[in-house]
Symmetry: D2
Subunit: 359 residues, 4 copies
């Protein structure tokens, strides 16, 4: 059982040092995490009520929280309300359901703009596209790299949509941050801890996909790596786990949605495309995820999947995607949520004032 | 690749014998399956177009079908349209979504009638209740046996609801058939082939749960065991598979719903109760399953779960179940289906003339 | 936490009744299990030291044991020493390593005798052969049935080897007991509890294979079903579990061997044939299992695998089997055990006086 | 199906360019990999015999190989004999069995030297110790970093043992290469492709652990990433996969050993410590792995496990390790191999002339 000491936003560095000092004096181990507004100082090993009372009385301390899970900042115990993250005016989490869509890989300007326009018209709120593609084979298409990032930025500006793209190397964090709005951490990098620390030092939102054999607590611990660096704009995503069932590429663990929501305040998405591996299965899985309460889905769309350089078989056609958006609106309603979409509810250019879960 | 020869309903025994004889003459192996109206004679090992043409010309032959899957009668290739099964006027499959509900085990007359009335009032169409309980431990409550079956029959008559109950032993098939309307084959008995053969010889509907490590093809092969005996009233059920993920009892494989529907014409249900193992997770999983297109759900409801003799933690309370029914109606609509329910659509006492997938 | 009351071998029925009565008086639930020599009366729900002391003082009581596992009679807590089971003079368990070999299915008299002679000459101590074959497909070869059992008995007599064969239906227990020495419960029937109860009522040894998704505790609970009926001659067998790894049919969980040995006194075998699914992998897996301490292996051998009616690809040829036996002798030695074999150590006709783990 | 064109060691850059050019002219895609002595040029998409014949006739071409697996340089088709890697005179692979041992993490100079001396005396040939520890929790001990690397180098010199240590970040490759002899790529980084490329550019041996949900082909594809950069000194390691079985931390997939050996020429180790998670299970799993033919084991040893900063429960005590070495010598013999050990076979200071699989 651990403690988390939340400092007031007005706490001075001296007050923070004093708390850290006292934690050490109490025989505990302190770990500081600087957030945008406040500092969390977690103390490992503490248990008694006396300790909590002593810490609560120190100058600059807002409150002391007891956490029973290995993750702290990611836990509902630490932050009870749903986190809502604002990305260029798009609200993610809470009652907002967002659909991220676009091609698997950025292959060309034409494709990106064509698919981007199509998914925007259909109601997607965020554009996806991979520039750095982690591929099982060293001989497969590895993405367009920085050239792709530039195209993504161009599309983002033209379509007025925020973007998400994968980062796979700590050395690429800076350049990706220049061009994209949300970092995607892929399933294979969920426990690439140095990468997590690096994106944790930025102020961009981070979208972490569950590893194919990761437990939910391990996923939340990876979120904790980012949160511990002061970046609290974290989204997690169920994308299918590896099981004996080989009818699909990965088994979408739809129960992860309510389980994560019970344990954490972070928005949870589902990725039906990588789970299914086949386009016909994408709509039912997307609908199931949103109906079960997910904060959104990330879907691969391609206008000519048979020519896609990556994951063509799982890409949905623009026409089917348009219909899917209608189904997702119903599914969101069923779960008490609503799809955040361009041209539908006027949120397009509305900018929310406060950012993330600290507000 | 195998052939299935479908005989005309008017085919005589002599014509059937002649076809079987010819199959043998062609060097193939014949296997006959007598359905309610027709006979299927499947031939293993055939491949050439000539063989098909020769068989099609024999007297009494309706058509010859080529199947590429190991299952034949269960395949979409054999029967393209959704199978719709009629149980005492309740239609199962196709666009009909049915909710089966009731206590895990029949524990007492009072409990069964109380829960039965509650689930009927809420809109469930079929009553569940276990009389023979397969338990991991020999020291756990094993069910009320025949005494429980009698209570179930009594409740069925009083509530005017068809019933489903588990059968675990070929020697019990006869007595269970006397009291219940649908045989449930539990996950642990999915490959108890003698039990499948025995229920296959009856004319009662059979509800087969997927084994916790069974592939979808293995599930359909178990259905084939029943179908091969001439009983074509088979429903299959996804109930969660065993994976590394230990946050839930079993991982509900929601992708099984569209995959089975693609491969087979049989109705497919989901069992959120055994998958989740926790009542809070039952509603989102039930909704996800129906939204993904399932033909129904089977849910455990208990009015006093903390006193339940079996699986109390996963039982939903009657009040929550009532709300769940509303959500399931929306989920069914989303998938283009509708919930079949008492007092709602007048199907209550309507008896369909033709039975099952042969019609 | 449960209690097990072990009665003296001289305890009278009246003394047993008195203990059962007292357990009820103490507010606990009693469950009696009659062994060959003694009666175990387990009490569920007890916890206090006082209760144990009271029960220990009753007439006829030998000792009272506290068990922390859900299984009782199968636990090391109940019986500390390794169980050694005698089957027609062959000792199974403890330091004895036995190799069970023979064809997957009994296909013909010729095959059975040819393979039987080959495996006996190589040093196998028990002959295997399936008469009732549980097959995934209703259209596959289902075994020779009673005719096969008769051939097995004939081979057993001619070769002077005890035999093992699978039983899949409670209704077949009696006839199988007439012809074979050890009941095999297949992986698919590991939780066919009525079948376990039925073989538990006989005095034949029972060889239970782990289900493809069964935990070790579930396997031991299935053993407990047999033990609870008074049949203490139980062997368990790791045969591969279903995982995402599809390079082999099933993943041999070699760690199950030491884990089971820590928890239970029952002999534990490994089945490399069904795990591997390919004959080349059978020797390394068999060796690994015995080197890790297994009490034996069960191996499928066929003199003409390409013509086998069942599981040909995993059958080892007689010549390779002979070499494997040499390797297994070394592996057994490495683990501090020794292979029990015909013509090697003179155990052939030695009959042990006492039976099983009660001695 | 792909082609691999192996150039002669005397081939000139111009000859290589000509081959690449011709591959393009033939409508195929070329990918060059520079090895120590030769260049491999693989061509994707080719199929006809004519193409092979045309390429074989080009100047500088040694031979053209057809590969059916997605990996090329890692395949047995490309290199039939076992790869033997020389690390400071220690031969790894082929008939040589090596035991890598040491503490999980480098915690202090004292511990490292104490454990190092103990494992060397017992017969281990390579010293392990983690300086950069990837931990699930950001709050757990993350290793001593460069300070730890320096201690490892010091121990290596004092004990005259080559060393292995984990690298988790492409930015650390250079510094790790300064101090250690073998890069360990941990299970969580098996598909950290940029890290693989980076170590592929060095001439240090690379020890890749199988990801907890990685197929064997995915593991070999990760090896291919390193090989494709010209570093052919790759060892792969089975370390347990994630399955439903929760009795151990991970299920050691012992069948991976023969399966990898059939598909690839690379040495394959097993890691019983991380698989088991409990020290009592380490010896049987280590023995099983070597008996099944593994080229070695990597074992965590700690002189005071209850004080270990990382993975204490799975560390074997020095005394037990000494006994294990004796058992592993027998197990290696059983598999037709022999343990390479200090002070035993005089290989200590023998330096092999040629390096790796190109020889």
């Amino acid at each position: 059982m651990d403690l988390v000491v939340v400092m007031r936003s007005t706490a001075t560095p001296e007050e923070k040092d004093a708390v850290t000092q006292r934690i050490g004096d109490l025989g505990l181990r302190a770990h500081a995490a600087d957030g945008e507004f406040r500092t969390m100082i977690s103390a490992t090993g503490s248990k008694s009520v006396t300790v909590i009372q002593q810490l609560e009385q120190l100058a600059g301390v807002d409150r002391v929280i007891t956490v029973t899970q290995p993750y702290r900042l990611a836990s509902r115990e630490f932050h009870e309300a749903d986190t809502i993250i604002d990305v260029k005016g798009i609200r993610i989490g809470g009652p907002h359901v967002n659909v991220i869509a676009g091609p698997c890989a950025i292959e060309s300007r034409e494709l990106l703009f064509e698919v981007g326009q199509a998914v925007k018209d259909a109601g997607a709120s965020i554009l996806r596209g991979g520039a750095f593609k982690p591929r099982t084979s060293p001989y497969a298409f590895q993405g367009m790299g920085v050239e792709g990032l530039k195209l993504l930025k161009e599309a983002s500006d033209a379509l007025n949509m925020p973007t998400i793209t994968e980062v796979t190397d700590p050395r690429d964090v800076e350049v990706v941050a220049q061009y994209a709005d949300i970092f995607q951490i892929g399933a294979r990098n969920m426990q690439n801890f140095n990468l997590l620390l690096e994106v944790g030092k930025t102020d961009k939102a981070v979208f972490i996909k569950r590893g194919m054999a990761a437990s939910i607590n391990e996923l939340l611990m990876s979120a904790e790596y980012v949160l511990s660096q002061g970046n609290h704009r974290v989204i997690v995503c169920e994308r299918g786990i590896r099981t004996f069932a080989d009818e699909v590429r990965f088994t979408l663990d739809v129960s992860a949605v309510p389980v994560i929501q019970e344990r954490s305040h972070l928005p949870v998405f589902v990725d039906p495309s990588h789970a299914a591996g086949k386009r016909d299965l994408v709509p039912p899985l997307a609908i199931a995820g949103v109906a079960a309460g997910a904060a959104g889905v990330i879907v691969e769309v391609h206008s000519c999947p048979e020519k896609a350089l990556c994951d063509g078989p799982q890409a949905v056609l623009p026409m089917r995607f348009r219909q899917l958006m209608d189904e997702l609106r119903l599914a969101a309603k069923l779960a008490g949520n609503r799809v955040t979409a361009w041209g539908e509810d006027g949120t397009k250019h509305r900018r929310v004032e406060s950012g993330g879960w600290m507000s």
